[in-house]
Symmetry: C2
Subunit: 392 residues, 2 copies
């Protein structure tokens, strides 16, 4: 049994990482059999057996096992990590600092890891996020509603998550970006390989101002089942899923039903009863989903009581535990007024995109809030600085 | 204390009727104080006191009592009944044969009686009826949905009740009429005095093929509060209220909320979230109303389980207790196939409008069902004729 990663001089923790990356090449997203192997045997042992060093893993046919073995033999995890690094992509493993804990609700269908492009902390951003999804071939009405809802969510300090597709997804991402807001695209392919092609520019922009995320290793391509299984990540990552337009049997309904199973809010935007592109949403609304017509109604649902009384929620992380970049942005906020992101960026001596990334992290932690087009310290953040509200 | 109705030679039961008609001139629709008087003292005693023969009735100011007394002094119930009779209008009293018992759910706000124009039995028709209401200034979409829903309800043997107004109401009536169906207009004025004027033709047509109903005596005019209070009758008469389009604070929402309080189904048709004319409906749908997009979904709700298994419900009234006119129409139905109303009318030697009136009564009683454009005997009706299904 030779060194599986000869010449890399990999430490034990690096080997864990390399083995996990190998598994992302072998086990399909959402494969619960693979997830059970990892839970029962551990990443190292599963990778070892897939390399042929040990017994066959349980629950698969001989033919399927042969296919998995062949994929494992072709995998080059060290190369994948290098390619990713060159493309500005990091690999976030379950249980590590940036891992969004709510993904663990997926059980054995939890991603083996997430490839992430973009500055902000995925974990921080996902804390206050909502999915806005819907039909690719949406109507002008659907595109308008997606963009308006996303802009409204961004203006209220919420992160908009979608799938980067044409139609509703694209309109939602653009609506958030246009409002100087935070948006995350969860792709069904390698995050270095934007899909659809026509959204190459948009996905680059999202990676600049927000996050592009996916389960599949660099260069990997989407398939119909990967699109469907990607949807469980969108549902699990967010506090609720808003479906804007969806025909019967639309993939967006898969996301909505996954949200429901995971105990997230399932939300629908109504449309004309005569529109086939609203038929799927109306079906949801006739079941358990909640009807909304604007961003305030979405926030009322996903924000819970805290949203109605923001003053009562203080920062959840002490200031000296913040990342240095976030601390610099926090320090650049004026004491008694709101300021636009560009002004804060100058004070923090960083880019506006980076500043927005940090502001939404600080928002998730309760330090700052949006105020019109600008940002200001929360009452609780001022108390934690001065030991009392200003003037007391 | 002289005879209040000198020269009419009225019997005691006629005097009850005349006193009740007098009260419809004095007590406003939905006035619960007046309703309590009638419940506690009886119609005769309330009328006697309003004529000044006895103590002041409780719960009103001296000024208001004076106003009621003045109205009572001007009332001419015998003339009202004569005018009504000449206009083909009958007065239906609570507890009599044609009274729809479900109106008793209104308690002290129950109508003192209903003025009715048209052939069919109000009681029979109301058994299987649904209200379709909405904005006067509706959009083309609202008019289309109202007409389509009403036609679909009519085709399924349901009676469409609405308020005779412009917009959604008119579209609903026309949709039912156009499908050779049954429709009831509940007016906020005397039923001999169509309102709005622009619907004179439509309301005449409804009185020909269906029913025009109201609480107010002949010649009386509508007021804003009468429109609002009329809505409780629409809500109470029907198994459910469907709101098609309604702005915030629309009168249709009053009907929907009355339906909810009365334990009837409250139902809404969604529209674009951007439409102010759907905002009121969406507000209902965010509360307790059920979203529907077509007539089948309405029937599924209001019909209950029986609707899903119509074969299991037999006639609710023995054939020999039917009115002669209904018996003739029933006898004119072919044994083993469906027939259009015109053909049945020829067999029953009556008009098509009268035939439709009887067919919807027979439908409510479980004898017949609609089948495409025609009508046929139900399985249960055939069993009750022959003592067994055909061929057994």
């Amino acid at each position: 049994m030779g060194d599986p990663y000869p010449g890399t001089g990999a430490e034990s923790s690096d080997r864990d990482l390399l083995d996990r990356v190998l598994l992302t090449r072998v086990i399909e997203p959402g494969d619960e059999v693979g997830g059970r192997w990892v839970r029962e045997f551990g990443v190292r042992e599963v990778a070892r057996r897939l390399r042929g060093e040990g017994a066959v893993l349980p629950g698969v046919s001989g033919k399927r096992w042969g296919g998995l073995r062949a994929r494992a033999a072709q995998a080059e995890p060290a190369r994948d990590l290098a390619v990713a690094r060159d493309a500005g992509v990091r690999f976030v493993c379950p249980g590590t600092g940036e891992w969004p804990g709510q993904l663990d609700d997926l059980g054995d269908a939890r991603p083996l890891g997430l490839w992430v492009r973009g500055r902000p902390s995925l974990r921080m951003w996902a804390l206050r996020s909502v999915a806005v999804v819907g039909a690719r071939a949406c109507t002008a009405y659907g595109a308008h509603m997606a963009a308006t809802l996303a802009a409204g969510l961004a203006e209220r300090g919420w992160v908009v998550v979608s799938g980067g597709a044409y139609g509703v997804d694209g309109a939602a991402h653009r609506g958030a970006l246009g409002a100087g807001g935070a948006t995350v695209a969860v792709l069904a392919c390698g995050v270095d390989r934007p899909y659809p092609r026509g959204h190459t520019e948009l996905i680059s922009r999202i990676a600049q101002q927000g996050l592009v995320v996916g389960e599949l290793p660099p260069g990997d391509h989407p398939t119909p089942s990967r699109f469907i299984l990607r949807n469980r990540v969108i549902a699990a990552l967010t506090r609720g899923t808003v479906v804007v337009e969806a025909a019967y049997r639309s993939g967006s309904l898969v996301t909505a039903r996954a949200a429901q199973r995971l105990g997230r809010h399932t939300i629908g935007v109504p449309g004309p009863a005569t529109s086939a592109l609203s038929a799927g949403v109306h079906e949801l609304l006739r079941a358990d989903a909640v009807l909304v017509t604007d961003a305030a109604e979405v926030v009322e649902l996903v924000g819970g009581m805290g949203e109605l009384a923001p003053d009562r929620r203080g920062p959840v992380l002490p200031r000296d535990l913040l990342e240095p970049a976030a601390r610099r942005v926090l320090a650049a906020l004026p004491a008694r007024r709101s300021a636009p992101a560009a002004e804060i960026a100058r004070g923090a001596q960083t880019t506006e995109d980076d500043t927005i990334a940090r502001l939404y992290e600080l928002r998730a932690l309760g330090y700052v809030e949006r105020h019109g087009d600008g940002w200001k310290l929360t009452r609780q953040a001022m108390i934690s600085v001065r030991g009392g509200p200003s003037g007391c």
